[in-house]
Symmetry: C2
Subunit: 208 residues, 2 copies
Amino acid sequence: MSSITVLLVDDHLVVRSGLRALLGTQPDLEVVAEASTGEEALRLVRTHVPAVVVMDLAMGPGMDGIEAIKRIRDLNTGQAILVFTTYDSDADIVRAVDSGAMGYLLKDAAPEEIFAALRGAVQGRSVMSPPVASRLFQQLRNPDEVLTPREAELLSLLTEGLSNRELGRRLFISEATVKTHLAHIYAKLGVDTRAAAIATAIRREGMR
Amino acid sequence: MSSITVLLVDDHLVVRSGLRALLGTQPDLEVVAEASTGEEALRLVRTHVPAVVVMDLAMGPGMDGIEAIKRIRDLNTGQAILVFTTYDSDADIVRAVDSGAMGYLLKDAAPEEIFAALRGAVQGRSVMSPPVASRLFQQLRNPDEVLTPREAELLSLLTEGLSNRELGRRLFISEATVKTHLAHIYAKLGVDTRAAAIATAIRREGMR
DNA sequence: AGCCGTATCAGCCAAAAGGCTGAGGGACCA
DNA sequence: TGGTCCCTCAGCCTTTTGGCTGATACGGCT
């Protein structure tokens, strides 16, 4: 049985080392490359064509994880992409799934969980950490409170303190549209000011 | 020359694995134990008496990193404690130094940086990542940017999403006074909207 | 006594945000 | 084909926020 080739993407060297060490204990898993930025990840996917990409969502300046996932999917080189990150934020989960991630693991996952996710991913199975799964489950029961991908994207930028004008520029939409999205977000979060939205987003969604 | 014994404390297994793998490349550094919680760390310090403790500040439920550092120091068993964490928040740095940490490294530090910090720590030298050092340095140069107690109080409430009116009521001051305080806070934080203030407060000052 | 930092307040004006209604286009699905 | 989301945009009006200037009061330090 041939090995499952893996590309690791994380801006922290220790995390990459740790994953490499963990995966190294499994004969069928082989780390063929590591990237510390989204740009590098994209390049290495082209050159190495790994079976699976394990990706952190939070990365330094430049392309973020979500963007990197989209770009990799656009290459159509068949990678299964696993998100491997610290926070189980609603918005991040929605966006990650929307952009084509096959699974969503938290960094405190047990090794067996990680191995299983990798093996499942190449077979087309979605795997996620229990906390992530339960969040999604709860969301299915209250669909009215689920942010759409676009709303989640906007909320994420909102927590960086941008104004409506800046949000519009960043997302290439008019300020009017920004306000529409915000109104929907407020309704779903149960708040009525952007300050409260930011506060609840960061506290409740685990954003930083 | 005998090895430097190290205890790793981090709630993420991958990070511990990564550190173990990195430190394993150095003949004079020996990881003698790993802990995933503050309580466990305290126990292992007693039983293994390591020369250095490498500690993440953010840990799951229970004792946090700062508390763990204080407790370890209280044992008086002579450990040098190195903080190894993701964020260079002003509040965290101050609190870590205050509770007796010997150094402050960010997780994206280069391996050589980590090794040097460990070796320096056992010799009583303080080491910190450049970004951390520059933050401290900047604070020393610009005492103007330190919030007054009243401002800090207001900022804390601000991060809960309150409006000016609500802030006034909560603090028993007029809305005009609230606005004055806010203006000062904005100036000190280097922002010009409350949204940005909330964002930087939560991210940079470690408020949650 | 004078100075400085902190905390308190007011008024004025411009900019930003929020609430509301309405509306068009595209995707998906029954 | 019609219905339902989602994303997009506009206009109008009210409230909130932010920028500015200036003012009083108290405490501590020199």
